[in-house]
């Protein structure tokens, strides 16, 4: 069998009522079942009800990829008015699939067939009619369209039928039957069509067993990480795009004997989280920028009183209410620096869905081990995008990761904030008769008694900072990693968060063009792994920092830490970074380098 390296991106666009996201969901799950790698990102309307636009984009590949493609191979329109502006996303010789027999007359210019670029291939399909014939109702036209795509590209039929059955398993059996009928009708239609487009789907590289590979969003991975780490309490307040973390936990936590409470605001959420952390529970909250701003003061108490707490922050466009359904990476500053006083905390920023799970799990260990709030910084793109993730068989997360008081000096008064070599004091929680103490937001001595002498404040401040260095060597998590060419390179890319995916793809493309380059992802933003970053930068003639904020918050962080300026590549479009734009920046940096060389 000739091995076609599959790399197909399918976009489905329709209104909220068209079942757009639902079929996108079936598509990605079916392809993951069939053994492909899948990455997907859905766009939702900001409006709550009605006919707002939804776009479900799914990239299906043989090998793991790191980002969405800037151009889509196949676009399915379930609603032409919404899909018309997206027609230009389809590449030359890509396909556009639409309803060729709408039920009502269409005003001139409102059918998508009139908006295709000459290079795109149109496929008209009487979706509604086929749905009516197959199921007696026009409701399944989305499934018909999905079936058509599957038939057109000869995608594995059974995987889709299984995914449909899984999707409707809680509904009556007729619902599944009718949807399968609609799917098959679409499939047969698609299979008969002579294809002119240049979209090829090959077989999956290897049969990945279904149960090994799971399709999930970043937020779902966070939830799985929380559960695997044995989360005991969660307090949250709804906010896009973090809400789905709480929604999923609300279903899952009670099953595991854990408690979740929706609080009256974010201040209450973080307060209760810190309270629960003080009481010894694995506690977390999740929010987005505006909510995190409200949490700043309590974060300071967590630092001062050395209380473990995990805070998931999924960034969206800001400031203020900003763009709640658009992605951005502009909360690095508040995550790392937000709050008053010398309030250093651990900040982890995963770069992919698997990383969301890992960072979530390790965040609980770190919070406990280093007795501090830990921020896990996501963004809307990462929170909502789907990837296939392969989890290890064994749950790697450690429970009870904290240093407890020993019984050796039980007769001595307990020093909750004992000054130790590594800055980490034995921690007791309520219920322990030997560890009675009062934790406080006031500066305090080793016993926790208020104390504002200069020497004490210095020692305690030092303790609170230096103890975090151990996090740089925390086991079981990659806090930075270099990819691409080793040794000296012409262009180095330094990226964080979801943007690393696009950065890595751009770097690989640049290498394929013969540019010597490398990329480093930085997962731990605080404390920053300064030494490895310095070593990497030393190897790079030019350094580009691509990120989704205006001024270059990560670039500022890195420049400040290493004392070297970098090329900032910033975009604030509300959308993920475009790979080709990073690639252009790499080319121009490499070109500049060459020019300088030839001038010298």
């Amino acid at each position: 069998m000739t091995s076609i390296h599959t790399d197909v991106q399918i976009g489905i666009c329709g209104s909220a009522g068209d079942g757009t996201i639902a079929v996108g969901d079936i598509l990605k799950r079916a392809m993951a079942r069939a053994g492909y790698r899948v990455i997907a990102f859905d766009e939702y309307p900001a409006e709550i009800r009605g006919f707002g636009k939804c776009v479900a984009r799914t990239r299906i590949t043989t090998e793991q990829v790191y980002s969405m493609k800037p151009k889509t191979d196949v676009l399915v329109s379930l609603n032409d008015a919404h899909a018309i502006p997206h027609a230009e996303e389809v590449r030359d010789f890509g396909a556009v699939i639409y309803d060729s027999a709408p039920i009502t007359m269409i005003d001139e210019g409102w059918h998508i067939s009139g908006h295709l670029n000459p290079g795109q291939l149109p496929y008209g399909l009487p979706m509604r009619e086929i749905s009516e014939q197959a199921t007696g109702s026009s409701r399944s036209r989305n499934i018909v369209a999905l079936g058509f795509v599957a038939g057109l590209y000869q995608l594995p039929r059974q995987a889709f039928i299984d995914a449909i059955a899984a999707k409707f398993q809680t509904k009556a059996a007729e619902v599944t039957q009718s949807n399968v009928a609609a799917f098959n009708a679409g499939y047969d239609n698609g299979a008969e069509i002579y294809r002119f487009d240049k979209v090829e789907v090959g077989p999956p590289a290897r049969r990945t067993r279904v149960h090994d590979s799971t399709m999930m969003t970043g937020n779902a991975a966070v939830v799985r990480g929380c559960l695997d780490a044995g989360i005991e309490t969660f307090f949250g307040y709804p906010i896009t795009p973090a809400t789905s973390i709480m929604e999923r936990l609300a279903v899952e936590m009670p099953k595991h004997g854990a408690r979740l409470l929706q609080t009256e605001d974010e201040i209450s959420a973080i307060s209760a989280t810190v309270g629960a952390g003080f009481a010894g529970a694995r506690a977390a909250t999740a929010t987005s920028g505006p909510g995190f701003a409200l949490m700043s003061e309590m974060m300071g108490l967590g630092v001062m009183a050395e209380v473990p707490a995990v805070v998931f922050v999924s960034q969206r466009g800001g400031p203020s209410t900003g763009m709640p359904t658009k992605t951005e990476q502009a909360d690095l500053n508040i995550a790392v620096f937000g709050g008053h006083g010398d309030a250093k905390r651990i900040v982890l920023a995963p770069t992919n869905v698997e990383g969301c799970w890992r960072c979530a799990g390790r965040a609980f260990e770190m919070a406990e081990a280093y007795q501090t709030p830990v921020v896990v910084l996501l963004d809307l793109y990462l929170s909502n995008r789907y990837e296939t993730v392969v989890f290890p068989n064994k749950n790697p997360f450690v429970r009870d990761a904290w240093k407890r008081p020993t019984q050796d000096n039980a007769n001595e008064p307990y020093r909750r904030f004992e000054l130790t070599a590594d800055g980490i004091s034995p921690r007791a929680v309520p219920g322990d008769p030997h560890g009675i103490h009062t934790a406080t937001g006031l500066e305090h001595n080793e016993f926790g008694r208020p104390n504002d002498l200069s020497a004490m404040h210095f020692q305690m401040t030092e303790k609170r900072h230096e103890k975090l260095n151990a996090a740089l060597k925390h086991p079981g998590i990659t806090i930075y990693k270099r990819f691409g060419d080793t040794g000296e390179v012409d262009v180095g890319l330094l990226a964080w968060g979801s943007t690393f995916g696009e950065t890595l793809e751009a770097m690989l493309l640049a290498r394929a063009e013969g540019i010597r380059c490398a990329a480093m992802k930085v997962v731990m933003l605080s404390p920053l792994p300064v030494k490895p970053i310095k070593r990497f930068l030393k190897d790079c003639k030019e350094v580009i920092v691509p990120e989704l904020n205006y001024e270059g918050q990560f670039a500022n962080l890195v420049s400040g830490a290493v004392g070297r300026d970098v090329i900032r590549f910033n975009r604030v479009t509300g959308k993920p970074m475009a790979v080709n734009e990073i690639l252009d920046t790499i080319r121009s940096a490499a070109g500049k380098r060459k020019l300088r060389k030839s001038a010298a």
Binding site: W110, S113, G114, Y194
Partner: protein, 339 residues
């Protein structure tokens, strides 16, 4: 000014270029039933020489349409023309308005009524998709049965012979269409076919096409005398029928094709026609005539586009002789040439 051209063949595409050149500010829309950009159908026999990617048949690259601001609406079948409102209705229920309309829909393969039931068992060759399907159905060295054997079919036939297939022409009234023959010239032309290594069956009426049984060739052509002929594919080459159905209620004069004056204008002064779809008034013959072949059709596109933009030119044929007997005894057609 919105010029709408129905049809994406030689006439329509060439007319669009001329319109753009002569009227740079106008809006130009080509409406096509097919999925592809303008490609060279005359080259389709090359499918048998291994040229199988449709992209290789494109006359213009996609960028041409963008650069010339020519909007090409594909997979859009016109179902109705309202000449009073100046609107077209497309099959997907969208209405398109025009200021000037050029009908260049060409023709489809004509199939005699007695063979209509056999259509599903016959192949075609008048667009890339069906041509490709025919090629895929034809095994190496297989037998092609051409019913009729018009000028288009003979062009394909000579390529098939060169590429080691066997071709049987079932001759009848429309063999050599649109070339008109007398009884004597007909027999010399039939002999010429044999010189070209085609097999000829003459004097028999085809009754039907059947799926043949067993392991042999896939098709059986049954004649009215009960005899039969087997082959791998069967193609009707009985000439073209103009595609005018959608115009039937438009209120313009139609005979077999759309009737136009030598300026290619129909009986409505905002509608023109060009290519295989139109019958042009020939003062010389005192009748409406069809003219075929790349060069004629292209000229029609040119004439129509000029007249649509204020010129007053008349169509004169460049090539009026369809088939010629070459000194070596084979047949040649200037229609098989294009530029």
């Amino acid at each position: 000014m919105h010029h709408v051209i129905i049809g994406n063949g030689v006439a329509g595409s060439h007319a669009a270029s001329v319109l753009r050149e002569r009227d740079p500010g106008s809006q130009i829309t080509i409406i096509s039933a097919g999925a592809l950009l303008f490609y060279n159908r005359y080259d389709l026999p090359d499918l048998f020489r291994g040229r199988c990617d449709w992209v290789d048949y494109l006359v213009y690259p996609p960028a041409f349409y963008e650069e010339n601001k020519i909007k090409l609406r594909r997979k859009s079948l016109v179902t109705e023309v309202d000449t009073n409102k100046r609107t077209l209705t497309l099959a997907h229920r969208e209405v398109v308005t025009y200021d000037q309309l050029l009908v260049a829909t060409g023709g489809v393969a004509y199939v005699p009524e007695r063979l209509l039931d056999s259509i599903p068992l016959m192949h075609g060759f008048n667009n890339f998709r069906v041509a490709m399907a025919m090629r895929e159905a034809l095994p190496d060295g297989g037998v092609v049965i051409m019913l009729g054997g018009d000028a288009l079919g003979l062009d394909l036939a000579r390529t098939l012979i060169e590429t080691n297939y066997k071709v049987v022409v079932v001759a009848g009234d429309r063999t050599f269409w649109p070339h008109e023959l007398t009884q004597e010239t007909r027999s010399s032309y039939l002999q010429a076919l044999e010189k070209m290594h085609l097999d000829v069956v003459d004097g028999k009426q085809v009754d039907r096409v059947e799926q043949s049984n067993g392991t042999g060739p896939a098709r059986r052509v049954v004649f009215d005398d009960g005899s039969d002929l087997t082959g791998d594919v069967v193609l009707p080459f009985y000439g073209l029928a103009p595609s005018v159905d959608f115009m039937s209620h438009a209120g313009i004069d139609i005979e077999r094709g759309v009737l136009v004056n030598p300026q290619l204008q129909t009986t409505r002064d905002d509608i023109w026609a060009a290519g295989d779809v139109c019958q042009i008034w020939s003062p010389e013959h005192n009748t409406y005539r069809f003219y075929y072949g790349w060069k004629n059709v292209k000229t029609m596109g040119d004439v129509a586009a000029r007249n649509m933009t204020g010129d007053d030119v008349t169509f004169t044929t460049a090539v009026d002789e369809i088939l010629q007997l070459k000194p070596d005894g084979t047949i040649y057609s200037p229609f098989w040439e294009y530029d």
